[in-house]
Symmetry: C2
Subunit: 225 residues, 2 copies
């Protein structure tokens, strides 16, 4: 491990590279409504990005009740079904394709680590033109998703880089918290609808608007042109 080396970048997917957070919010809200459950939309928004299991637990707690195993399964299936319907409207965020292409061209190591499943991530990876050689770690491959550090630790491992010389890029406080637990620097993007201050308070090293703004400021992360 050598902290003077150019860092590797470990990207979250939803809200960080693709504009999908609000579709996830609507999908969870519809799934809850279909189960007769009334939870404020903003509370769902602030949970998106965590592991789906933790998210469902958190929603139950905010409703002041417990879900049966059948309800948990129905909620997860409902979310997946509505999100699939909305998925054609999901687009790469401004600058995402260009940023990833520049990193590849310049030989900067990067990977994607998402709390989502391989099935929901697949179409978005295609829209982002992610090369097959780039490591993509999904929920299916680790015991715990964010804010646990496992996804980012696995991504650094797949790249063969030290996590302490990696920069995690994410839109939610769950990404930034996972980055700190993993021992990486966390960088926040506003493109998932969190505020700058929420990300900074969670420990973000820097906060940018979106991938396009990050691309303009790569030198602030120690990636030189």
């Amino acid at each position: 491990m050598d902290a003077s080396k150019e860092p590797a970048l470990l990207f979250d997917l939803d809200g960080t590279l693709v504009d999908s957070v609000y579709q996830h919010v609507i999908a969870w809200r519809t799934a809850l409504e279909d189960e007769g459950l009334d939870l404020s939309t903003w509370r769902i928004h602030r949970r998106v990005g965590m592991s789906n299991g933790l998210l469902v637990n958190a929603l139950a707690r905010e409703l002041g009740r417990e879900f049966s195993a059948e309800q948990v399964a129905a909620l997860q299936a409902g979310h997946a079904r509505v999100f699939r319907e909305l998925a054609p409207h999901v687009r790469p965020l401004p600058g995402a394709v260009e940023l990833l292409r520049e990193l590849s061209q310049r030989g900067v190591l990067w990977a994607i680590a998402t709390s989502g499943t391989r099935a929901t991530a697949g179409p978005n990876l295609a829209k982002l033109e992610v090369p097959a050689s780039v490591p993509v770690v999904t929920r299916d491959e680790v015991p715990f998703a964010k804010p646990d550090p496992d996804l980012f630790l696995a991504a650094a491992d797949r790249l063969g880089v030290a996590i302490t010389n990696s920069v995690v890029v994410g839109d939610s406080i769950w990404d930034v918290l996972a980055a700190r637990r993993a021992g990486a620097l966390g960088v926040g993007l506003l493109s998932g609808g969190y505020s700058r201050q929420e990300l900074e308070v969670a420990g973000a090293f820097r906060v940018y608007h979106d991938p396009a703004a990050l691309q303009l400021h790569l030198d602030e992360l120690g990636i030189r042109r």
Copy 2:
């Protein structure tokens, strides 16, 4: 004007009393998409609550272009159409009906002031059980909507109270900014998806989760039980 008197409350509607912000976001995003325009969803979210005219101008600026009069009309019509479709899913926020009922029972003066039109506000006023005697000021009735102060000034006028002895309650920074311009205290609610810090930085006197939390803390605003 007597600052020692119990204040009147001037409420925003969308995101403050009803859980409708995310439906407005989706409606604007769909309207933009239908016009072939690609704007990140979070940027739309952070504009909801301003006057629709200002919002469309702001979206044009963020896209780095100007809209023709036909495009502006198409966007506004598209937003109204999609929002009408989603409106049946809009519910009162937790505690909203109970808070308004308690204020009426205790003789506290209150009104509603919304950047929305009378047509879109109507169904939500019914869900909130707003008595016909309560002043409701909509976009149709003032020259400028938020963050201009006109809506709140008109609401205080209709109640016959001094704006300087009124408390504006809203979920967006546009409410809080309009409150300051009007000379009222602004109170923020998190139920529209803004963060506590954004509302505080905009000048909120206090910030609560939602109407239910506000009801529990009315004494902090000088409304005694």
